[in-house]
Symmetry: C2
Subunit: 150 residues, 2 copies
Amino acid sequence: MERVDSKLLKLLQEDASRTNADLAAEVGLSPSSCLRRIRRLKSAGVIDRVVALLNPAKAGRGMKAIVTVELERHGEQHMRRFLELAVMEPAVIQAYSVSGSTDAVLMLRLMDMDEFDTLCERLFRDRTNVARYYTMFVIRTAKETTAIPL
Amino acid sequence: MERVDSKLLKLLQEDASRTNADLAAEVGLSPSSCLRRIRRLKSAGVIDRVVALLNPAKAGRGMKAIVTVELERHGEQHMRRFLELAVMEPAVIQAYSVSGSTDAVLMLRLMDMDEFDTLCERLFRDRTNVARYYTMFVIRTAKETTAIPL
DNA sequence: ACCGGCTTGCAATATTATTGCACAAGACCG
DNA sequence: CGGTCTTGTGCAATAATATTGCAAGCCGGT
């Protein structure tokens, strides 16, 4: 990957709504050439997609929580089953299986505590094979970027 | 917020590269009206910005880790100082101060273990006021969305 | 130096976004 | 009820932007 591509990716990760001519000028290329590079990056899958990011508070989801989960019975089968459950929840925006003594980590986007409460009932109730879970509510967000460092 | 706006937001969170006419048709509005709604959402700050999402593996950052941090000395001052350090690291893509017995949580995007190693040296060394930290490496990503549920 | 593959810039063309304007839907008030 | 003010809408013209064909330039291999 060349220097120009990396520059383009960096810019597009910051703001993908800029015009092609604008980007072209910044990286020192002609608009057509610039566009072709971007298209190549897209079809190569380096650029996965372009999305709008909302302001969580203004979208009514100002509360965020991180939950670590330890399962009762471990193993591929049980892990998969739990993650399937978690993935179905709209409030779950990230769900990972992880190494270490905790089995899974969930990132939640919540409206309020009530939503958290009902979510817990659905995910961590008796039959869901969850031995214990630990919730950390986000107090301050110091950094939160979708940009992958280049 | 109306039904149409919420529909638009949902669509734009999935794919912000669609043409205005396309979106307009899907929500049953004329292109001009649709465009004005989107612009209103932007200037109201509901839509924060639009960005390109990269494929982490293809961008050379396939490794992901979640780190919980407990500080030696607690309190606003020390917390702020630690977060300032963390935020400066490009590999740190999310940094939160949280409630509970752990003080902060970091989300890392890494190239390899070497990078993790050197990062730890910088962030968790003696003088950084970190009492203990626990790292969970992401084994499987079951869900990872930037979309806020509406 | 020469060839082949790939990238570039330019200019023409096609798409798409944007704006002005007249009209329709409520909300509010006499 | 009728008036009127605010807000949103669709249409059509216009402006901005993306896209393509093509000739030329660059670069590595021989």
